[in-house]
Structures are given as structure tokens and as C-alpha cells.
């Protein structure tokens, strides 16, 4: 569901378009009880993270204090308050993957990209994240880069896979 947005883009027209989408989503969800989380999903879907300026719009529209919005947003791992790199790498750290060496894959990615886990590379190309079970345990160890799933990994597959995205 998570979409990758390039950070470089962001002309005024595009920004307006995004905001319009959010506005209409808010109007649509306003009717239902418990609208906040679906709206946050929509924002994350469109922006790749939850920008403060957009959360302010949500605050006014849904009539919720910012503190409550932040409280909810920070509680859930899926939501991010900071922008991500162009490619987000999720390494599954579920049990099946862990047993089959996901930690060594994660370590290798961290070494190759020279970035800490949950961090973004200096050139904003990659964000490296450890995540919960991706539900593809049959292919363990598994990682996703954007929407693409890479399975049956070994640490020395890492450089080659990264090259595809460089």
C-alpha cells in the first residue's frame, strides 16, 4: 500500500493536486466514526509520510487537537512523521526469516549502504527498515524494496540486488 514518492518532485501544481486528494478523502471519511486512522493512511499513501502541514489540515477538518493526531500517528509503526528515501527497503524480521538468517542480510545491507537500520542514506536513495512478518514466510528470508518482494536471500545477494536500484 505504501507508495514511493520521489522527494525531488513537488511543483506547486502537484502539491495542490495532492492536497485536493486529501481534502476529498477527509470529506469522504468525515461521515464515519473513527475517521482519523483511515485519513492518515490516505496521507501516507499519497505523500509517503505524514507532513506536519497536512496534519494541520486534518486537525481543523476533523476537529481534533494536534496532540491527539500525533499521539495516534506515533503509536502505529506503519506511520512515519519523517520523509523516506526514494527506495524503502523493508527487511522482514519475523521469526521464520530470522531463523533463516535475516539478521545477517540486514547487517549486510547496513554495511553496503553505510546507513543504520531505520535510517536513510545521505543521498536520499534508500531507507533501510526492519519490519514485522511480511506474510511471505515460505520464501524466508524476505525483503521488499518498494513493492517488489525479494525472497530466499543470502547476504551475498545483497550487492547485486542493490545495483538494480542504483
Amino acid at each position: 500500500m505504501e507508495q514511493q514518492q520521489t522527494n525531488s518532485s513537488g511543483g506547486v501544481a502537484e502539491a495542490d493536486e495532492k492536497l485536493e486528494k486529501i481534502q476529498s478523502a477527509i470529506q469522504q471519511f468525515k461521515m464515519i466514526k473513527g475517521a482519523l486512522i483511515p485519513v492518515l493512511h490516505e496521507i501516507q499513501d499519497i505523500y509517503g509520510y505524514l507532513p506536519e502541514s497536512v496534519l494541520k489540515v486534518v486537525s481543523t477538518e476533523l476537529n481534533l487537537p494536534m496532540s491527539e493526531i500525533y499521539g495516534v500517528a506515533s503509536f502505529y509503526h506503519f506511520f512515519s512523521l519523517t520523509p523516506k528515501g526514494e527506495h524503502v527497503i523493508h527487511v522482514c524480521m519475523g521469526t521464520a526469516c530470522y531463523i533463516k538468517g535475516a539478521q545477517t542480510v540486514l547487517d549486510r545491507l547496513s554495511t553496503e549502504l553505510n546507513v543504520a537500520v531505520q535510517g536513510t542514506t545521505e543521498d536520499n536513495k534508500f531507507t533501510l527498515e526492519a519490519t514485522r512478518c511480511l506474510g511471505a514466510c515460505g520464501l524466508a528470508p524476505v525483503m521488499t524494496i518498494g513493492e517488489k518482494v525479494h525472497g530466499r536471500l543470502a547476504p551475498n545477494n545483497v550487492p547485486k540486488i542493490l545495483n538494480e536500484y542504483k
Binding site: M1, E2, I32, K33, G34, A35, L36, I37, P38, L40, H41, G71, V72, F75, Y76, H77, F78, F79, M93, G94, T95, A96, Y98, I99, K100, T104, D107, R108, T111, T131, R132, C133, L134, G135, A136, C137, G138, L139, A140, V142, E147, K148, V149, H150, G151, A154, P155, N156
Partner: protein, 589 residues
């Protein structure tokens, strides 16, 4: 049939489908052969999986370049395309139907009945395999009480972890005299290493919709919610599509099948918090708040979503309902054991040959599942332990292999059924490290509301860290056990109450491994970084210099064609040398 489950889709099954369609058109037989994208078939390890009916020939790891030959040999000339026929279906020169393999023979598929068999995106295929017949039967011929009685009599217990009798739960909610009631399907599937709920939603979404409507009728509710993980995009998309189809066919919405019964289902996405799988937390999350548990009672059946009576059922639980309504309570109760009726789906993972999804009758032994269905441990390694029940469960050992699998046996052994992750471990797995792994998970996922869970799991993790670093004393081990017991007693929700289970069960069954870490500062399985070091065996080293070139910290030196050496002080234990050495000269000591 081409598998379109998550496993196979990620190994490119969509391209196989395109290639197949193209080739069929090229050969002019697109009318005679139908290509169907199904849900997960169970043996994801072998993906992409293609099965050709009516013969039931099972092809594994199919690639796009195989397609022309497969079409020509099998579909045009009627001879199986040997190259990709799954090894295990070949016997004495004959090719077996996949249902005769060890992997399938002992399975009884009820919840997974249609997974991998029908096209999940086509409601007509579901209807053709008796879909929505149960809903029709219930609405037209049964009373609410009859539905509940059937459920109670079938003995079905919740598959989401608790194992509470489903019919009883429905009855509690049905008895509440309130205008508005809710039915929730719990599809959060937070248990790491389990993917049965995902596979059911992807492979047979209508079975869940049908069951939710039946539950709605039984308790007197007109509104359902499904809470599904945002991390499961294919499942969400197929479920939404199935909802639209069901509405279009008048099987959902106002006045279902003209009976005056109305039922709607809304989808809510989870946002990656394990604790939201807990029912009270889940309801808070649907209400738009932080997903924190609240004490029970009041139980959701009395006071749930927005204060109204609510039943929450797991996906797999629901996937059994329509079959029970169709075939009767006695049929269902005849499968399984005295107190655990029916079947259970397990996600076999870890160090086992056939990783994948299996559905077995309760009462089967661990040995049958791991060695017969699972095909045993790969690479000639020795079985060490099996972990069931996820972060709330525990590890069982060799001596438990002949125990039967049911709710009560597993609990009495110090593990639990949980949602059905079954992770197999071999001699290369360090049990202290596994305990640390689970604690790291629960500490991270603790919602923080109650102190024993928030602080306690943190302390446990610190002690486990000390042990894996070889810095712990016997006193620490004692503290670890005591604190574990305290957290179990004092926590608010089942997350904290069960979090210490992996610690306690590994201490109980693998005490010697803890001792080795504490007394000898050794990790027998060679996993714990602080306790191992990398060395090059001079006899095996051919002096190719590959490791020295790949080592990120320049810790390896030597002359080409002579044995290389690792400077243990400079080494950061990244293991790259171990991976790259083609001569197995790098050893972990």
C-alpha cells in the same frame, strides 16, 4: 492453475500467467485451456507453482522460458513436461497427482478448502463450489438459536489464539438486548511467522464474508468490520473486490436474498501495531484511537465497539463456519480430538524442507507434521526444537515430537497453539538468541500502558543481552526466571502475560545452553556475536584473497597463494568472509 498468492507473486507468477496466455493464443488453443490465478497453494517454497488439471500435475519453480515447452508437451501432446514436475510427485517412473504426495496425504482442508483451487476474484467460482449456500440455508431455514446451537455443538474454538468456543461467544452477544451490535473479523495477523489469515483472504475471501453475514444473523447485527493489516495489500484488494461482488449479487447489503436481513461490511486498515490484534485494542483502533487494551470484563460480547455488543472472530475461525452450516455440527465434531474439534492451519517455517501452509486434523503429532508433511530438516542437520504460538508460545523439543497437537496438550507442555505459526529449528539455532529475539519483539510491541509489561520486558531483554554477550552470572539467570513469573502475573493484557513464555520454555528445556553462555562464555550454536570469532583454517585456505578484498574492516591479511589470517581485534564479525570463501576455510569458533 497458476498460484497468485503472495509467495508466488513475488517470484513472478504474474509473468508466468501472461506468458501462458500468450503461448495458448499462439498455439490457437486459448478456448480449450483456461488459465486461473488462484490463492496460495501451500507449498510456497516451490513457487511459482503451476498445477494442470484434470491430471493434477504439479509443476514447481516454473520460469517464463519453460512455458512454450510446457504448453507443447503437456497441453498439446498430453505428456507431462518432466523438467519442472515436482520431484516428490515422481515415483518409480510414474507421475502422481499432487494429492498423493506426503505433503498433502495427511492434510484435511476445510478452512483452506478452496485456496489454490478457485479463482478468488470470481464470485461465480466460489458459488459453484457451494459458496453462499450456507448463508442461504441459514437465512431461509434456520432460526438464530439454531445457528448458535449448531456452532456450539460443532465444538469450533477460536483460531486467533485464545481458543474460546465460538458458538458460546456468539450466544453471549445474541442474548444482549441492544439495538446495535457488531461483528468484527480480526485479520491483523500480528504473529510473526504466520500467514494463514493472509492466505485465506487472498485465496478465498468470500468464505470470510459469508461467515460474517451468518454471524451477523446469529447475533442480530447488521454491521461488520474487517480489521486487516495494511502490510497485506493483495489481501486487502481481493477482499474489497469480493465485497463489491457480494453486494452486486445481493448477498450483502440491505435485504439479503429478499429475506429482510441486512448486513454490511466495512474495511479498516491496521497500521502495524502487534497489540492491535488483541480484541479490546483492536476496537479502540477502529474507533480511531491508539490501540491500547482495556481490562476485561466487560467482554466485547457485552460492551464492545462504541459500547455495543460485539463479537470478534479470527479469519481462520470464520473460514470454517459455512462448512459447518452445510455439513452439520456432527460432521465437524467428528474431526479432531475430544476437546479440540476440527482442523488447524499451520504456517510451517524455519529449518524445514517444505515451508508452507498446511491444514491438519487436531490430534496429529508434531512428528507427523514436521517430518512427514514438512519433509524433515534440510541439509542433513539435526532437529532441535519447534516453536509454536509465536511470541506468546514456547519451544518444544525432540522428546515432545510424539505429542498430539491440540489446544490443551500444547498448553500443558508450556507452549500454546496461538494462531498457528510453527517454526522449526535445527542445531544451528541458538535458543538463548531465540528467546532474545522474541523479547525484543514484545518489548518493541508493548503498548506501554502497564508497567510490568513496559518495564519488565525491557529488563528481561537486558538480561538476555548480558547472557548472549557472555557477561551474565547465575544470579542473573535466577532473576530472569523470577521476573518472568512476575510479569506473567501482573500484566494487563495477554501480550504481557505471555511475553515471558519463550524465555521460560527455553530455560526449561535448554538450560545447558544458557549454562554454556554463562559459565563457558560459549555459544554452542555459533550464533551470538560476542561469543564467537572468525578464523581461517590454514589447511583449507587456498590463498585466493577473496575474503581480504571483501572484508569491510581490512581485518584480513596475507599473501596470495598462502593462507590468510584474520586479525580478531579489527574484525567486526560481519561474516562476509564466511559467506564468500569458496573453500569453506573460514570457521566460526
Amino acid at each position: 492453475m497458476v498460484c497468485g498468492g503472495t509467495g508466488c507473486t513475488s517470484s513472478d507468477s504474474n509473468r508466468i500467467i501472461d506468458a501462458l496466455n500468450q503461448e495458448l493464443t499462439n498455439q490457437g488453443i486459448q478456448e480449450q485451456v483456461e488459465v486461473v490465478r488462484t490463492g496460495c497453494f501451500g507449498l510456497c517454497e516451490l513457487g511459482p507453482v503451476v498445477i494442470v488439471y484434470p491430471e493434477g500435475i504439479f509443476y514447481s519453480r516454473v520460469e517464463v522460458k519453460d512455458i512454450p515447452d510446457l504448453v507443447e508437451q503437456h497441453l498439446l501432446n498430453g505428456k507431462p513436461y518432466e523438467k519442472k514436475v515436482y520431484e516428490k510427485t515422481k515415483l518409480d517412473g510414474k507421475i502422481l497427482n499432487f494429492e498423493e504426495t506426503d505433503f498433502y496425504k495427511k492434510q484435511v482442508r476445510i478452512a483452506l478448502r478452496n485456496c489454490g483451487i478457485i479463482d478468488p476474484e470470481n464470485i461465480n467460482e466460489y458459488i459453484a463450489s457451494d459458496g453462499y449456500k450456507a448463508l442461504g440455508k441459514v437465512l431461509l431455514t434456520m432460526s438464530r438459536q439454531q445457528v448458535i446451537d449448531t456452532m456450539k455443538k460443532s465444538g469450533l474454538r477460536g483460531r486467533g489464539g485464545g481458543g474460546f468456543n465460538t458458538g458460546l461467544k456468539w450466544e453471549f452477544a445474541a442474548k444482549q438486548d441492544k439495538e446495535q451490535k457488531y461483528v468484527i473479523c480480526n485479520a491483523d495477523e500480528g504473529d510473526p511467522g504466520a500467514f494463514m489469515d493472509r492466505s485465506i483472504l487472498e485465496g478465498n475471501p468470500h468464505s470470510v464474508i459469508e461467515a460474517m453475514a451468518i454471524a451477523g444473523f446469529a447475533i442480530g447485527s447488521n454491521q461488520g468490520f474487517i480489521y486487516v493489516r495494511a502490510e497485506y495489500p493483495i489481501a486487502v484488494q481481493r477482499f474489497v473486490k469480493a465485497l463489491d461482488q457480494a453486494r452486486e449479487y445481493g448477498l450483502l447489503g440491505d435485504n439479503v436474498l429478499g429475506t429482510g436481513f441486512s448486513f454490511n461490511i466495512d474495511v479498516r486498515l491496521g497500521a502495524g501495531a502487534f497489540v492491535c490484534g488483541e480484541e479490546t485494542a483492536l476496537m479502540h483502533s477502529i474507533e480511531g484511537h491508539r490501540g491500547m487494551p482495556t481490562p476485561k470484563p466487560p467482554f466485547p460480547a457485552v460492551q464492545g465497539l462504541w459500547g455495543q455488543p460485539t463479537i470478534i472472530n479470527n479469519v481462520e475461525t470464520l473460514a470454517n463456519v459455512a462448512q459447518i452450516m452445510l455439513n452439520g455440527a456432527d460432521w465437524y465434531a467428528s474431526i479432531g480430538t475430544e476437546k479440540s474439534k476440527g482442523t488447524k492451519v499451520f504456517a510451517l517455517g524455519g529449518k524445514v524442507v517444505n515451508t508452507g501452509l498446511v491444514e491438519v486434523p487436531m490430534g496429529i503429532t508434531l512428528r507427523e507434521v514436521i517430518f512427514e508433511i514438512g519433509g524433515g530438516i534440510p541439509g542433513g542437520k539435526k532437529f532441535k526444537a519447534v516453536q509454536t504460538g509465536g511470541p506468546s508460545g514456547g519451544c518444544l523439543t525432540e522428546e515432545h515430537l510424539d505429542c498430539t497437537i491440540d489446544f490443551d496438550t500444547l498448553t500443558s507442555l508450556g507452549s500454546m497453539m496461538g494462531s498457528g505459526g510453527m517454526i522449526i529449528m535445527d542445531e544451528d539455532t541458538c535458543m538463548v538468541d531465540i528467546a532474545r529475539f522474541y523479547l525484543d519483539f514484545t518489548r518493541d510491541e508493548s503498548c506501554g500502558k502497564c508497567t510490568p509489561c513496559r518495564i519488565g520486558t525491557k529488563r528481561l531483554l537486558e538480561m538476555l543481552d548480558l547472557i548472549t554477550e557472555g557477561k551474565a552470572t547465575m544470579e542473573d539467570l535466577e532473576k530472569l526466571e523470577n521476573l518472568s513469573l512476575q510479569i506473567k502475573n501482573a500484566s494487563l493484557c495477554a501480550l504481557g502475560q505471555t511475553a515471558p513464555n519463550p524465555v521460560l520454555s527455553t530455560i526449561k528445556f535448554f538450560r545447558d545452553e544458557y549454562m554454556a553462555h554463562i559459565h563457558d562464555q560459549k555459544c554452542p550454536a555459533g550464533v551470538c556475536k560476542s561469543l564467537i570469532s572468525y578464523q581461517i583454517d590454514a589447511d583449507l585456505c587456498k590463498g585466493c584473497s577473496l575474503c581480504a578484498r571483501k572484508c569491510p574492516s581490512n581485518a584480513i591479511s596475507g599473501k596470495v597463494k598462502e593462507p590468510f589470517v584474520i586479525d580478531t581485534l579489527a574484525c567486526i564479525k560481519c561474516g562476509v568472509c564466511f559467506d564468500v570463501c569458496k573453500f569453506k576455510a573460514v570457521a566460526i569458533v
